[in-house]
């Protein structure tokens, strides 16, 4: 317990609490349970994507294509629904997850089999996936009235006071807790990122594990693609543009080390919630939305400086500027 109190997660939790108190002092309604539930729902897509990104970063990779993957999957789902409203929702959900996973697998294969650096691969596929949306849709939007009520209604369907979207985020988080703590694959993510050379000796296939991380990240991006499009009832080329950086930011704020092998699911969850609260609070507390960007930028810098500081004491070599990022 005392170890937890000193952890990054506890400090982040504290920061969130302070943030909420500050907001509540100006606008008490913000902390009403119903509103917090709404903020959570609004943050759900970020949480789902950030969890996927977490396993990718744990294995020393990065996936910049998540937002493009989301948008392409979302567009395909929307176009399918518009063209064939009769296709059952379960099939669409399956399609979304499968399509996302395939796009993730494409990233993963290039990292695994061709050893192309992940940042290059996903920078490339990010523009390709985004461009494909334009190609398949011809740039046209799919609007609310073209979608079936079942399609748009699913993510907002209310169960026990929370919409399905939020329940999915909770479910995914729970699955991640189990996967990370209790499955060999979950532990392999840490091993591969922490010491790839050593992982081979323990029978872990580094490339395959990274591939799996990309597939998971892709599948979740695909799932979120459907949820996003259905929730906002619109699909177009630019949806979630630039969202990949917000996703990475959530992970970094949550204490996931960009060098791989370190970080927790709880951290990512809190990192995403922190960003979500800031984003939702700004319009409410009457700070110009133009401040949002600068605030999240500052949060990222503070978080990474803080994480570096807390792990610094372990290092014995003092010439950190050379050692730190050799």
């Amino acid at each position: 317990m005392t170890a937890f109190l000193k952890s990054r997660e506890a400090i982040l939790l504290g920061a969130i609490a302070v943030l909420l108190v500050l907001i509540a002092s100006r606008f008490p309604a913000f902390v009403e349970p119903s509103n917090l539930a709404r903020v959570f729902t609004d943050t759900s897509p970020l949480i789902i994507l950030a969890l996927g990104q977490t396993v990718v970063i744990l294995t020393r990779c990065i996936d910049l294509s998540v937002a493009a993957n989301l948008a392409l999957t979302g567009m395909v789902c929307a176009m399918l629904n518009a063209a064939m409203p009769g296709v059952p929702l379960a099939a669409i959900l399956l399609l979304a997850v499968a399509m996302g996973a395939v796009m993730g697998a494409i990233n993963g294969v290039m990292v695994w089999k061709l050893s192309i650096p992940p940042i290059v691969v996903t920078l490339g596929t990010m523009t390709i996936y985004r461009g494909l949306i334009f190609v398949i849709s011809d740039g046209a939007w799919v609007n609310a009235h073209e979608m079936s009520p079942a399609f748009t209604g699913f993510p907002r369907f209310d169960i026990l006071g929370l919409p399905v979207l939020a329940w999915i985020a909770i479910l995914v988080t729970a699955l991640f807790f189990v996967m990370i703590a209790r499955t060999p694959l979950g532990r392999a993510f840490y091993a591969v990122g922490g010491n790839p050379g050593a992982a081979v000796y323990t029978g872990i296939d580094v490339g395959r594990t990274q591939f799996m991380a990309f597939v998971i990240s892709g599948a979740l991006a695909g799932l979120t693609g459907y949820l996003w499009v259905a929730r906002y009832s619109v699909a177009y080329v630019d949806i979630a543009g630039g969202f990949e950086l917000e996703v990475v930011a959530a992970c970094v704020i949550g204490g996931i080390s960009i060098a791989g092998g370190a970080g927790t699911i709880l951290g990512t969850l809190l990192g995403a919630l922190f960003l979500g609260i800031v984003k939702n609070a700004l319009p409410v507390v009457n700070i110009s939305p133009f401040w949002q960007m600068a605030i999240s930028g500052t949060a990222i810098i503070v978080a990474v400086a803080f994480n570096a500081r807390s792990s610094r004491s372990k290092g014995r070599i003092i010439l950190k500027s050379a050692e730190g990022h050799a």
Partner: protein, 512 residues
Amino acid sequence: MQVSLDPSNPRPVPADVAPVLHLDGITKTFPGVKALSEVSLSLYPGQVTALVGENGAGKSTIVKTLTGILQPNAGTITLDGQAVVFPTAQHATDAGITAIHQETVLFDELSVAENIFIGHQPRTRFGLIDWAAMRARAREILDRIDADLDPDMPLHELGIASKHLVAIARALSVDARVVIMDEPTAALSHKEIEELYELVERLKSEGRAILFISHKFDEIFRIADRYTVFRDGQHVGEGLIAEIDEGELVRLMVGRSVDQIFPPRDHRVGDEVLAVSGYSHPTEFQDISFTLRKGEILGFYGLVGAGRSEVMQALFGVTKPSGGEIRIDGTAHQVRSPSDAIDAGIVYVPEERGRQGAVIGLPIFQNVTLPSLAQTSRRGFLKLSEEFALTREYTERLDLRAASLDQDVGNLSGGNQQKVVIAKWLATKPRVIILDEPTKGIDIGSKAAVHAFMAELAAQGLAVIMVSSEIPEVLGMSDRVIVMREGLIAAELTGDELTPETLVRHAAGIGA
């Protein structure tokens, strides 16, 4: 005693045991290197087989083929009379083959228990990892090797020796018939080495077959029942330890006899060059004071973790000291960075050659001129002809073996990389050269060359500090020896005091 060099005529195997594991005709090539060429190896239940050979002979490579990390190009592995293949490390583990590898195969962010079981964690009925069982079994194994470690402790909180114990525990976490140990004692202290020997005995008595790789002859002769010798990727001999002596084994390894390992030295020394007083560091070492003279070789001995490297890195400006003073020729110098040290005339050949010494990826000549660019350039602009000239001057003195001077240092053998690093420093015309474990990971043949060269440097008037953990090397090369223990100078020894016994006593803190 006679040993046949003809592998087709091996020594008789005790008739009562058949080998549990047999490798035959194993060939393994890397791009440009034939690491193994049709080698064979047999391991017997309840016996320790020592695998010996120079650096690069292919010892670790055969371990990796045996544990599924590398796939041989040709050859067969027979386990209990059955031909087997190990596509991954997992398959080898499942077949009951386990290894302590030469490289540390550990994960800093994971706990001790996880490090022991990663890759084969105990599972619950639902296929999930059973943490309780994992902790309990980790506890059990750690007790077996007398390691007092908390299974839940994150690995990064452990010292280097404890980490090694975890690696050993990891190998024991599999109920293996074959246990492989690739230089297991290299990072252990005296006490832990003894415990390891006991463990080996226990494993033997349990009927397990053990493959033991070591460069240390004393331990080979102490614990091994059999030996197998590799040379340049080829099997050159095997037999019973009882039927061979040390000289014979060395001759087998190197293909010639190495009669004199240490060069003769003229022990006359000149004026004092370096004086260090009261050097301290908040956590690593304290109150280090000594002097060094022209033409002298000063040995630094201590157990692993005694803080010798840290002291040297502080003298070289890599680590920041918290107090103390350095004087060169009587003048005080502030050394805050390696470039300050180089300016003051102190250079450092680091222990970790690949990471700290050579800049792998750059050609040889660029490595050599890196600290001397000011000398080879005009107003900041490179002059390649001068760089090649400078490089040639020093690499020829060191007899560097390379295809060309613009070859990547990464393609050189370890000994030749070490020569590049030394050439780099000689080109700066230093006053004091510090060599940290200069022959670590270098085979006997190249070792002799490094020793001869060190003697020559001293003879030319350079002041030399040599950090070494090998007692023969320390005794054979040094004029004077400083023994360190737990960050402090434990003793300064000269002349008759220089015996293996005094070194060990001071290093281990056993009352003299």
